[in-house]
């Protein structure tokens, strides 16, 4: 059986039984159930509870064995001492997939309880996610975590050996960058499904285009390396190793009972497999977003189109000190650009418009000339003006508020909205048309609706430094792919 099929109960459950949800809303289990419902889960929800007849309007059962229909997935957020008996019930009922959120097993030295769990699972052929995990998110409508969050559906999947990292930064950062998620899996203590299993499943999963890993330790090191080696040639993998110092190792051991490896060994694993290592969640998610949204740069030459000198200079330095080129454009190409630029601006590259209020030139005309040319492989912008900008611009003292030009200005942003959207639609089209990565950098946030619009349509919008690093890593990855092709 394929791994994806074997774990299907986690990914496509039609009926989910809940242990630990009650009518007390602040209970951990109740929060999980509410989050599942808020995510728009369309299957059936069955609470299991010793006393209650009904929970959140759903009929509750005292024992899972009393449930008349088939149960695809059981979720447990209860006192760990009760878990193994309930697991036994699940086995008898024929449930094949169970997510155990509760901790209190090997990570606190309770080896016997975890061994018993393993035995029961083996007897009834149950696959367990966890114990001691943060659950999973499977877009579009399955959220079995403690955080309410309907992410945008996309191709990014993440397997995390840290429960916290599986949810909290993902949610904070993903909402900022508009990350498109396919699957998030928190593996916990890995009692009988581990990182390697989930990676195998994601390899087969057509909805996953790129994979992120929060990595602590792996019991099946050899299989892990072979898998990284194989998958990374098809779907880029980005890894954050945690627990490589003495204190880090100690911490990892106490939270998932994992024995970690020193950093230089993880580095060599990345070196050998071409997997990209990053140092923090922001880098991880920006890069995964870029992999999911953009085609790979076919070379290392970047055009920088900027409304301002500083960001252009900073980006040039970062690119050139990390193996990329910001080449001087040919005379011919410069001549093509100049008619659309202010006279004071520079067309050499970075193409610095300094200030221009002609958004059509900045967002459409100049980019298309650049993307069409064979002198560059990717395009990065700095600068964006949108409705929020204009609105903030007219936070004037009261006595000015009724002035005609202020009113005109105030309406300008919104009046221009359709026009701006049309400009952005062009950029989104350019991405497909020219098959070159395009990243827009600025310091605006998703509160600016144009940022959200671009992000949700697959143009990464982030800070300049983040955008530059995403492009650098993408180029490194493609260079790695080229090098493996040569060897074959």
């Amino acid at each position: 059986m394929s791994k994806l099929k074997e774990l299907d109960g986690f990914f496509n459950p039609k009926t989910v039984a809940f242990y630990g949800a009650s009518n007390v809303m602040q209970k951990f289990g109740s929060i999980h159930l509410i989050n599942l419902l808020s995510a728009g889960f369309e299957g059936k929800v069955i609470p299991i509870h010793p006393k209650e007849e009904e929970i959140l309007g759903f009929k509750a059962y005292k024992n899972i064995k009393d449930v008349p229909e088939r149960v695809d997935l059981a979720v447990m957020a209860i006192n760990p001492e009760l878990i193994n008996n309930f697991l036994e019930d699940c086995g008898k009922k024929g449930v094949k997939h169970v997510i155990i959120l509760s901790g209190g097993f090997l990570e606190v030295g309770n080896k016997d309880a975890q061994e018993r769990m393993k035995k029961i699972a083996e007897n009834y052929n149950i696959k367990i996610m966890g114990p001691n995990c943060s659950g999973e998110v499977i877009t579009p409508s399955l959220n079995i975590t403690h955080v309410p969050w309907p992410p945008r559906k996309g191709g990014v999947s993440i397997v995390s050996q840290s429960g916290t990292y599986a949810v909290q930064p993902l949610i904070a950062i993903s909402s900022k960058i508009g990350l498109g998620i396919s699957k998030i899996i928190s593996v916990g203590n890995e009692v009988n499904t581990d990182l390697v299993d989930y990676l195998e499943a994601l390899e087969e999963d057509d909805e996953t285009t790129t994979i992120g890993i929060y990595f602590e330790a792996v019991r099946r090191g050899k299989e892990f390396i072979e898998l990284l080696d194989r998958i990374n040639k098809k779907k880029p993998i980005v890894i954050i190793p945690i627990g490589q110092t003495e204190a880090g190792t100690r911490s990892a051991k106490s939270h998932t009972a994992a024995i970690t490896s020193p950093g230089y060994i993880i580095d060599s694993v990345c070196e050998q497999t071409g997997v990209i290592k990053v140092k923090n969640s922001i880098e991880l998610l920006n890069l995964l977003n870029a992999f999911d949204s953009l085609s790979l740069p076919k070379g290392n030459r970047v055009a920088i189109l900027t409304l301002g000198g500083g960001p252009g200079t900073l980006m040039s330095d970062l690119f050139e000190s990390n193996g990329m080129k910001v080449p001087m454009l040919s005379k011919e190409l410069q001549e093509k650009l100049k008619p659309w630029m202010p006279e004071t601006a520079s067309a050499i590259n970075p193409i610095d418009l300094t200030y221009s209020d002609d958004m059509q030139n900045f967002l459409n005309v100049l980019p298309e000339i650049l993307l069409k040319s064979d002198e560059i492989d990717s395009l990065i912008f700095y600068g964006l003006m949108g409705t929020e900008y204009f609105k903030n611009l007219v936070n004037v003292p009261d006595y000015m508020k009724n002035h005609n030009s202020i009113i005109t200005m105030k309406n300008f942003g919104e009046m221009m909205e359709d026009f701006f959207i049309a400009l952005f639609d062009e950029i989104i089209e350019f991405k497909e048309k020219y098959q070159k990565p395009i990243i827009l950098t600025c310091y605006n946030t998703r509160e600016e609706k144009f940022v959200a619009y671009l992000q949700d349509n697959g143009i990464p919008v982030c800070y300049p430094e983040e955008g530059v690093w995403a492009l650098i890593r993408m180029w490194q990855y493609n260079k790695f792919l080229y090098s493996t092709e040569k060897l074959i």
Partner: protein
Amino acid sequence: MKEEIKITIIKSIINNAFAENRLFLMEHESKDLISKYGLPTGDYKLVNSKEEAVKFANKIGYPVVAKIMSPDIIHKTDAKVIKLNIRSDKELEEAYNEIIVNARNYNPNIELKGISIQKMAEKGVAEVIVGGLRDKNFGPVLMFGFGGIFVEIFKDVAYRVCPITKEEAGKMVRSIKAFSLLDGYRGQAKGDINQLIKVIINSCTLLMENPEIIELDLNPVIVFEIGKGVMVVDARVILREEG
């Protein structure tokens, strides 16, 4: 050598250490073991008398090196039980006596296995280190770097998880900053990189086939110019009891 014979010899070296309650191999044992994996060690012999020493030195030709072989001394330089660049029978006999005296001064109850006589290695293009260790997650891991300050101060080393392909070993060698010193820096001769790569790959096989070995330290390995090979001058093997 036939595979079964090779395995028998290797197991007997390792089991012999276990029988003596040792979790390490002495240099001559280490060399006996690694040479079964095609790692070039140069001529060496464990002798138990001055006559034997002189005879062997004449066979391989001076200059030679004499070192004590004892389970009680790990750092030979500190105990002054290693003599380099011995050029004649007379010098060798003096060195032999001196080493024994120094060894007994270092530890009156020392157990002596003999004295190892080996050819004094010529100066090569570079002296490098090939090391091996066993990681809890990934199993055998190899380390490569230049000796001395390069590894100690600059940490200019590369690691790879086994198994390692020839291409990967090549990339590993080229990845360290000091690589240019092996590659004809400022008109100097280029080192025999292909033979060095062989040492790396064979060390990898050695670790993978012998789970009792948890650490391997080939230090120094002298790299001669292209076509002249490499030579493992000193070797240490650390064992663990369960396989």
